[in-house]
Amino acid sequence: MNKKEKTKLIRIIAAIILIVLSKLTEKAIPVLSFILFAASYLTVGYDILFRAWKGILKGQAFNENFLMAVATIGAIVLGEYTEGAAVMIFYQIGELFESVAVGKSRKNISELMDIRPDYASLRLEDGSVERVDPDEVEIGSVIVVRPGEKIPIDGVIEEGESYLDTSALTGESKPYSVHPGDAVLSGSINQSGVISIRTSCEFGESTASRILDLVENASSSKSRAENFISKFARVYTPAVCFSALALAFLPPLVRLLAGMPDDWSTWVYRALTFLVISCPCALVISIPLAFFGGLGGASSQGILIKGSNFMEPLAGANTVVFDKTGTITRGVFEVAGVHHSEMESEKLIELAALAECYSSHPISASLRKSYGKEIDCNRVDHVQEFSGEGVIAEVDGHTVACGNQKLMKRIGARHIDCQSAGTIVHVAIDGSYAGHILISDFVKENSAEALAQLKSIGIQQTVMLTGDSESSARSVAEATGVDSYVSELLPGDKVKKVEEILEKLSGREKLLFVGDGINDAPVLARADVGVAMGAIGSDSAIEAADVVIMNDDLTKIPQAIRIARKCIRIVYENIVFAIGIKLICLILGALGVAGMWTAIFADVGVMVLAVLNSVRALRV
């Protein structure tokens, strides 16, 4: 509790003691009782009365302070002293509770997202180290990070080895080791050794700043439920006030005309009861609080949801479409075998790696990695690239052709097809077939588990899209248990395929597309919710997606859906519960069944319960 809240608590306690004393002395010393009551009422309500007065002076009477003032003063005029003070006390208890709960959630979330670095230790030219504001560090400076400190700015390690804890960024709790030359992200915590880092960007462009930006702006794009509530709040208060006015005057007038006793005080009392329930507080606070909690809870798990408005479609997901490479599979190609080669496997890989030494294709990268030694490009000459087929180059005086079956046909070498799934690189030397190299991508360890979890939470359809061959698509589909797959798609076809699936869905069924965010931006945009995996450090992915999964753990997808469902469920519970209780109170109040006590009790009670319910969203 802050100072303001503590003062309020003291005021409330004092008022309660005073009103109890007033009640006790009611019979014996009426004058003292009245003084005690007045002291109680003013102690707890003076600020409300003061604000109500200022509101009237400004011509802005329709605020809750004014309504509370009217309701309580009205009750007092009718002789209901205790009720007048009690309403004020309960109202203040509600306010205090709201303020404490909101403050606590704010603090919880800022702890969860505790990646904002407070300072950077800049190494100066003379070797000394100075603490500066991270904003002042220029690109290419060297910063020193000691064990236990946060890395303030993205960069590359120059010196030192250590273990980094990236749990605040990715939700991954296992620390990983870093060495000179490794790129490191801001927001990670250095665990063991002192490292110096050459910064690769400014603070504002660093991962930590960008993530914080994203999380903070997320709750600013409002969901449908939030917009509904703010519209409702705008209408609700005036509507209740006018009904109160009508309730105070119409029935007595009707009774008067009908020749019955007018009974003014009963109806005015009932009208005042209306005013007590006229504040839409419970709804107005609990809905954003639930979304805030949901977004915050998700980000603590390394799931960044870019706005409250994506919670609803995420919760309503019915179909999940995956990209294969880099999403279901690791996206790292490795040589899995060499077949039908008459020479040593190493030699064949060496020749292939040399022939492809100028290519930037991931396949060539995996060949070079498998070769493992420094590539001497001087051994390579006359490189010809055939787009979509492969390369022909002269290596150590021999013509080496390296590529798919189309390339083999082009040069007239008789190739042997491979039975295994993966990408096949056929090699022909001086025009005759020399065998092929099988390169495959590996399915992520937990892809199958993620798909099983999706099934178990009721996702009806999972689809895998890939540009790869039928055979490799089938083997991945079998290994992971995805419902269906479409292979050999060109990049543009993926959008068309997603649109086809979208057409078959009804309005409430939502489609999630999960990709690596690198070259599937159009598909991410077309889907109801676009999810980018392993997007940490990739600008374009964070830009294009609605949900960003910081690491590449596929089980975060079912988790994200669960979090969103829980959040949305809480939001609807609160809407129905709060509006329901208010309506019941209004009806009972109008009928005279519920008095002011019941009304204020219900009103504050609903608020407390709704807020407690909302806070649940934070726990994932």
């Binding site: 604000r51 200022k54 509101g55 400004k58 802005q60 605020n63 809750e64 306010e95 709201e98 303020s99 909101v102 959630s105 704010r106 903070e216 702006n217 709750s219 600013s220 794009s221 409002k222 703010s230 709040a233 705008r234 504040c279 839409p280 507080c281 107005v284 606070i285 954003p288 609080l289 805030f292």
Partner: protein, 72 residues
């Protein structure tokens, strides 16, 4: 032009009122108040100078909620 300001306000409904008041201020294209973060994101109309618009926004907000504050 978009800018983000820190604000101070006590209740959620007051934050909504501030948002409405800010949106009615000339020079403001769109304003969003985030009560949970105590932030106001203001998108200014073209040619509007935040230095002259923001005092007007604050004045309008004060009309609906006396005890609010915007730090600009």
């Amino acid at each position: 032009m978009k800018k983000s300001y820190k604000i101070e306000v006590d209740c959620a409904n007051c934050a909504n009122l501030m948002e409405q008041a800010a949106n009615k201020t000339p020079g403001v294209k769109n304003a969003v108040v985030n009560f949970m973060l105590l932030k106001m994101n203001v998108e200014f109309e073209e040619g509007a100078d935040p230095k002259t618009v923001m005092p007007a926004v604050l004045a309008n907000c004060r009309k609906v909620e006396d005890e609010c504050e915007i730090f600009f």
